[in-house]
């Protein structure tokens, strides 16, 4: 398997008046051809900042980006904006959460899609417009020839997100980055969009990087999952590994906090104690340690040493960064967590 995208030790820091914000602090991962990686984390965990860094969209801003972002043999982080422009749209494309804000309000959707196609293909406006009609049809918009002439605000949320998808796939990119594409949509429309993405992925053979805070979306669409917390990757593995045998106490907290339909009606909702740390004053050591209920089970001082992301013994593709020993974690999982899942 070849990796479409390789990210190595990515750091994105913002200098602000209050101090240095370490939005992303040393994240590495890769995505293989045709696969879907879900990056999961709560607000401020650095998942969107990571996706913008891959698109090179921090260029020209105050962000300091370091590390390697390899796509098509090009390190996005090392080349100029003009060089990245050759990759944007063609090698990698992006869809955003709020499709109303993400589409230009003054241009017809057909023209916006045709423009995306024309950037990378030397064709006439007429041909590009035909491509736009074709793409709108493929993402399931009825009467594409007429809808071409409409403006973004004339579409419903779900239809607009389809327009976004049509635009992003117009140049058949190898990698599609979807930054919370379903968050602003109704649950039924959400399912339609996820189905559409999966069908199109099969058709176009693209890899997908799905940014979300919704574990349901991940379960639905991802092959692999990267769990982020306070700008760092804390667990990585297949969807099955993450959802069935999670290793990190944060993952335990997330999964046990999902309410059960089968439980008692008055069952207490479980929550992770505390709040996410400030990205300016990250706790020394493991950033999750102040909220971790199991840190006394570790043999290392969680509050002073940062744990490495390392493979678990049973399966080296499942990585976790935790000081608690694997045997201890298995014991905790069996005795306390498994029951609540």
């Amino acid at each position: 398997m070849t990796a479409i995208l390789q990210v190595k030790d990515l750091k994105v820091h913002f200098q602000t008046d209050d101090g240095l914000v370490k939005a992303v602090d040393g994240v590495s991962f890769e995505i293989e051809a045709g696969k879907t990686l879900g990056i999961v984390g709560e607000s401020g965990s650095g998942k969107s900042v990571t996706s913008l860094a891959i698109m090179g969209l921090h260029k020209g801003s105050r962000a300091a980006v370091s590390g390697e972002i390899l796509i098509d043999g090009v390190d996005v982080n090392k080349v100029t904006e003009a060089e990245v422009n050759k990759l944007r749209g063609k090698s990698m494309a992006m869809i955003f959460q709020d499709s109303l804000a993400a589409l230009h309000p003054f241009f017809k959707v057909g023209d916006q899609i045709a423009e995306a196609y024309q950037v990378h293909n030397k064709v006439s406006k007429k041909v590009a417009k035909q491509v736009a009609v074709d793409m709108l049809g493929r993402v399931g918009i009825p009467n594409p020839t007429q809808r071409m002439e409409d403006f973004p605000h004339q579409f419903s949320g779900g239809m607009r997100q389809r327009v976004m998808i049509a635009m992003s796939l117009s140049c058949n990119p190898k990698l599609l980055i979807a930054d919370e594409p379903t968050t602003a949509l109704d649950v039924t429309v959400q399912a339609q969009i996820l189905d559409l993405l999966r069908d199109l992925q099969r058709e176009f053979g693209s890899s997908i990087l799905m940014i979300t805070h919704d574990l349901g979306v991940v379960a639905e669409i991802a092959d692999d999952v990267l769990l982020m917390y306070a700008g760092r990757a804390i667990e990585r593995g297949t969807v099955r590994q993450l959802l069935k045998t999670p290793e990190h106490p944060y993952a335990w907290g997330l999964l046990t906090s999902i309410p059960k339909l089968t439980g008692a009606a008055n069952a207490e909702l479980l929550a992770i104690p505390g709040t996410p740390p400030s990205l300016i004053n990250l706790p020394s050591g493991c950033s999750f340690s102040p909220r971790c209920s199991y840190k006394d089970r570790a043999k290392v001082d969680c509050e002073s040493v940062i744990p490495e992301l390392a493979g678990v013994k049973s399966n080296s593709s499942h990585l976790v960064s935790c000081h608690i020993s694997e045997t201890e974690r298995v014991a905790i999982f069996k005795s306390e967590i498994a029951l609540k899942l």
Partner: protein, 330 residues
């Protein structure tokens, strides 16, 4: 679209009715007696009574207002049936107390000078304002931005009668690059017309461009942080295309609105500019009329200015409908 236009025209007409009532009221609210004003220096009670009759000030007020409006719409006849019968063709706004000329004639006579000023100055301020605003926005926090914004601040703070006179002193009196400002008909003497107009254009253009530079800069910077600009970049568009197509298209819309209203206001008379450069336009006509308490001329200039502003508002809204698709359906 058509219903909208009709609705707006009716709205505009309503505004004009109120304006006409208001300015007509001027005749009677002011302590000055119109008949006394028209009577002149060697006035006798008999003469005044005669004038009162001639100006139709001796009939009931609603009737007077009706005749006033009728005069504008379809013309009116003073002293009908008598020997001194006076036909005033529509749009009739009466006769100047000072010169006895029809107000409509005076307005028509003075309008070209004001149009000339507005025409040249508006092109100039739009060009300077937009380009310096765009450069500022694209080169934010560089010396170009600071220079351009500093100039804009100076422009917005200074007054025409200061900048105008300084420029006139330097460019006309000291360097002799320009001839003295003034107005001649562009049909007869196009070169002289342009030469006489350059100084008013530059002065007014510079001062008003300041506001446009700031508006453009602020608008561009705001639009640059919009999500759809990030999308445009994510599509792989060159930064030139992102800035000049996507950013400018969104940023320019509100500027067009301000431009239309400024132009409308200016067409009613560039009062200070005309006064400073001694250009015989509508603004100068208005100031002269005010200082002479020449009521019919005051009324005429106010109505003309109001008409321009009402029309400018309607035009701006129609243009906005074309520029902003979201307004189209509303």
């Amino acid at each position: 679209m058509l219903t909208y236009l009709v609705r707006r025209l009716i709205g505009g007409a309503t505004v004009m009715v109120f304006v006409s009532i208001f300015v007509f009221g001027l005749f009677f609210v002011l302590p000055a007696d119109p008949a006394r004003l028209a009577c002149g220096k060697s006035c006798t009670p008999e003469l005044m009574a005669e004038i009162r009759h001639a100006l139709e000030l001796d009939i009931p007020l609603p009737e007077q207002y009706f005749r006033f409006v009728k005069g504008i719409v379809s013309g009116r006849t003073y002293l009908a049936g008598s020997e001194a019968q006076l036909d005033c063709a529509a749009p009739c706004l009466g006769y100047s107390y000072q010169t006895d000329q029809p107000v409509t004639f005076l307005l028509k006579d003075r309008a070209p000078a004001t149009l000339s000023i507005a025409f040249g100055a508006s092109i100039l301020w739009l060009l300077i304002g937009l380009s310096s605003g765009i450069v500022s926005a694209l080169r934010r926090a560089t010396w170009i931005d600071k220079f351009s914004q500093g100039t804009a601040l100076a422009g917005a703070s200074l007054q025409i009668y200061f900048v105008g006179l300084v420029l006139q002193f330097i460019l006309v009196d000291k360097l002799g690059w320009l001839s003295s400002p003034g107005y001649v008909s562009p049909n007869d003497y196009p070169m002289e017309w342009a030469q006489g107009m350059i100084l008013p254009w530059i002065t007014l253009g510079f001062l008003l461009s300041a506001i446009y530079a700031r508006l453009t800069r602020a608008g561009m910077i705001e639009v640059m942080s919009e999500d759809y600009i990030r999308t445009a970049r994510a599509k792989g568009l060159s930064s030139r295309r992102v800035n000049f197509k996507h950013v400018l298209r969104a940023a320019i819309t509100p500027i067009i609105t301000v431009f239309g209203l400024d132009l409308g206001a200016l067409l009613g008379g560039a009062v200070i500019t005309e006064y400073v450069f001694n250009i015989p336009g509508l603004g100068k006509l208005a100031t002269e009329a005010v200082s002479n308490v020449d009521l019919p001329v005051i009324v005429g200039t106010v109505i003309v200015a109001a008409v321009f502003i009402v029309i400018a508002n309607i035009v701006v809204d129609l243009v906005y409908m074309i520029l902003d698709p979201k307004v189209r359906l509303a």
